[in-house]
Symmetry: C2
Subunit: 229 residues, 2 copies
């Protein structure tokens, strides 16, 4: 049986998310490189896989999917049982499942909008528009850091009560934090996490996972114009 295919570049956060869950469950997969600097993601062949011309695309036989969070859940449902992992909480009661869903939504709706502008200002915009956008907009960064501190304060209180966000077992909710937080930790603002010791310890616990390390080795920590990633 041919392995599932992921279409994209492993340095992109949404591609990294999909690879992360494939690595966690130990599934065989093929990474089909898409040269986004050359605009390959906008070509008809990729748009057939992802009509929004974004990455990743995903294929498992006749099934074509886009949206990294949905792909990740499919991977966990298909392979999680074999791997002995119940990261979605679907083998528990509907209450436990709801708590995983809740913290998964917190990542998407509260954490991501707070942390992502810092990553965009410090890394993504300067990388996409070399020269033109190289200076981060400090007021955007400062507002986002204030918002991020609010979120991290709530996480700190939560992690005083449980080992992970949705309880004492790791879940989909925790692991979804990896891609953007990884890049945030390469910015000058990484030390914000030092103000929240439980959050810092949780982050180090996540980063110590072998699957996380295998995915993050494809994610650069320095961004240089013209470099090959």
């Amino acid at each position: 049986m041919s392995p599932v295919k992921v279409f994209g570049h492993p340095m992109l956060t949404n591609v990294a998310r999909v690879m992360l869950f494939l690595e966690e469950v130990g599934a065989e997969y093929e990474l089909v490189p898409i040269d986004f600097v050359a605009g390959e993601h906008k070509r008809p062949q990729h748009v057939q896989l992802n009509p929004f011309a974004k990455m990743p695309g995903f294929q498992d036989g006749d099934l074509v999917l886009f949206e990294s969070r949905a792909i990740a859940k499919y991977i966990l449902r298909k392979y999680g049982g074999t791997a002995g992992l119940d990261l979605l909480g679907e083998n528990s009661g509907i209450e436990e499942l709801a708590v995983v869903d809740m913290w998964t939504e917190v990542e998407a709706q509260q954490y991501y909008p707070a942390i992502s502008p810092v990553v965009f200002e410090c890394i993504i915009i300067p990388f996409i528009i070399p020269g033109g956008g190289a200076t981060p907009n400090q007021s955007v960064v400062d507002e986002s850091l204030e918002r991020l501190r609010g979120v991290l304060g709530i996480y700190e209180a939560r992690l005083e009560k449980s080992r992970y966000l949705a309880g004492d077992s790791i879940s989909f909710a925790d692991l979804n934090h990896i891609p953007f937080t990884f890049y945030f930790m390469t910015t000058p603002y990484a030390k914000v996490f030092d103000e929240y010791p439980k959050v810092k310890a949780w982050w180090e616990m996540l980063m110590a996972r072998p699957a996380v390390q295998r995915v993050c080795k494809h994610m650069p920590t320095e961004f240089k114009l013209g470099a090959q990633y």
Copy 2:
């Protein structure tokens, strides 16, 4: 058994989302009003239910939840079976379930970021800051409409192939579009939908549902300073 409780105001989109799914499954519930104009959502009693001081909060016996999309899924899992509704696709195969998840993420990640700035500029900001923010930022509106047209074009192509976004049956993905689209339809830009006949027909099909009508009657179509909603 005491009914589940929703804490919030029914004119707010995330409160409306939770009420919508309660109405769809025909569950008994109690709406506990929170006077957000008076800042009640920031008081300790509400923050115990929702640490982000947002609405809604939700309580089912000992279970306390926040994040409207997670609450909605819990409602569907708890009551959907009795109501004969499988809006999450969980009674189908993992492929069908993945397609519902994918279009649910499209709403959250592509549609919402495109449509919401128009609703913020035309309705929410003028309502929150009467006088100060009453004039919509036209460049934000124009950029968002361009982005929205891109999304609606993809929806139009999808709805040429299936009756609803995730297939021929209505799903969680479709119904999540209701709250923000309802308010968008009260702005001067509602006619953008006329450019996409399949999307327009899909929207009208959603709005014709009795549960949708019961929820939307609490959502104003005119916003007046000092009015009681």
